[in-house]
Subunit: 313 residues, 2 copies
């Protein structure tokens, strides 16, 4: 038997971290000295677990990770929502990233299972919430960081961080609007398939330019996408990329307008969507630093876990 | 037997006019001297007829109207789309409203059945199309009319008319976005039922103000509607009215920005939706003249029919 296959004395202080979103589960076994020992991922997100329960899903993944059954577990994401496993109440802005762990709640289950809190901007004029992105921000930034961060996705976030505090943020329904408009509106006739991550080609760049040039006209530009095809100016194969350009452009136009002149921006993203945002943002003259989204989650969880359990040992 | 129940000599020159949309059929029997003799309406819009065929549906309504089987019929709306009964090719802008009838096509069926054309704005930078609204514009305006007209609905239209010509128009997906967002997005949790015509109360007015004050921020304002309820600032019962305010506000903000300073506006609308737009537009300091949408369709059809068949007799 090789040492990695059974808990060693060191592994007794190993822990598991989990990014548990609406539709996905990603878990890692982390050694006491911070190394990634194993990874386990699946589609058992919060929506799945509303039926099956959360504890059995976690148990399966812990076993797959080769960890002992009662290994300490730290979770971020929608598992901590009111409708999730156990509610981890929001921390209000401004919030220090390096004290997120203080808001973690313990799940009423055997072992030591904790869920990190989300962040709420509890302002009547600009109410907003996040769950999971705060952990990515912790993972992607150094202590005392100041800057603007964009985390694209179903619900894209733009976050202003000052001296290591989340001070203000906005959520854009960009990814979700792509999905519902391309599947459920008249634009379903103008979009071939429902590929959410369109290529950075001419239709994407034109959609982006249109949205940036006329940032108040989104709901008209959407109809024009259909009209353009009816009148033979564009092909259906270009519809998804144009829609993506229009929605990402509307997001960037508003965010840049809101945050004023800026030179640099941090992007926490991955894959094709990350490349679309990189292209769009550098096209606006911004100096973009991209951090991988999954690494950011894992590192943020590990930083918080170290603060929770290092204190214990 | 009373005279109205069988065709008289006068009724031999009567005609039927039909507003045949995507999801509804509204037909009227019009006497030779222009009086409305009977009305027949149903849910057999274009989508229904793709399966059942158009001719049998029209035949049923003609019988219900008490007209002879081969009465002349003039149709406007989606029945003339490429995927409709018979394509009535678009006329391009600029188009004289009082020559719409010249673009009518005859359906390959017994009798004299014609369909009015839609209008296309075949500009690569601002492609747009309408089918049905052109007939409402003919019905709602006097010869030589100049002004800006708004026709709210699933696909809201803003049309600039100069000296009786449609010179330019824009379509906003306002009504359709209300429907798909309230039913298929995360906002389904924030909207009670899917009542498309919300009351002109505080949540509507606040949504409107938000959109008018931050007209580039629509996709963020949509998420805030959800966040506002999660954080206890608003109740679910107010969600539909706020969403309606946000979407109508986004439309008006862009249209007013686009068309520049204006004092007056014509509104072709009906019922609760018409009242919401009246409130929103008069709140912007505009002098609004409202014309009933259904009367506008019928009158436009009658004007065009008179030009077609008066020439014949």
């Amino acid at each position: 038997m090789i040492p990695d296959e059974r808990p060693s004395r060191d592994a007794a202080r190993a822990f598991v971290v989990v990014d548990w979103g609406t539709s996905s589960f990603r878990g890692w076994l982390i050694s006491a000295d911070g190394r990634v020992m194993a990874e386990s991922r699946g589609g058992e997100g919060m929506l799945h677990c509303l039926d099956s329960g959360f504890a059995p899903v976690l148990g399966d993944h812990v076993a797959r990770l080769g960890a002992e059954a009662e290994v300490p577990v730290l979770i971020c994401g929608m598992a901590g929502a009111r409708q999730g496993w156990a509610e981890a109440p929001y921390l209000g802005t401004p919030t220090r990233l390096d004290s997120l762990h203080e808001g973690a709640i313990r799940v009423d289950a055997p072992g030591d299972i904790r869920i990190l809190p989300g962040i709420a901007q509890a302002l009547p004029e600009r109410p907003d919430v996040m769950r999971g992105e705060e952990t990515q921000l912790l993972g992607a930034t150094e202590p005392g960081f100041t800057g603007l961060v964009c985390i694209p996705g179903t619900h894209s976030k733009w976050i202003r961080i000052e001296a290591g505090h989340i001070v203000e943020f906005s959520t854009y329904m960009t990814g979700e609007l792509f999905s519902v408009i391309s599947r459920h509106s008249i634009l379903a006739h103008a979009i071939d398939g429902s590929e959410p991550q369109a290529a950075d080609g001419r239709p994407f760049r034109e959609g982006l330019s249109t949205a940036l040039a006329a940032p108040t006209a989104l709901t008209a530009s959407l109809f024009r996408l259909r009209a353009s095809q009816l009148l033979g100016f564009e092909q259906r194969a270009d519809g998804a990329a144009r829609l993506s350009g229009l929605l990402i452009g509307a997001e960037i136009a508003d965010a840049v307008h809101r945050h004023g002149p800026m030179q640099s921006l941090w992007l926490i993203a991955t894959g094709a969507l990350g490349r679309l945002y990189e292209a769009a943002l550098t096209g606006q003259g911004l100096d973009v630093t991209t951090v991988d989204a999954e690494q950011a989650s894992r590192r943020g969880l590990c930083k918080a876990a170290a603060r929770i359990w290092r204190a214990r040992h």
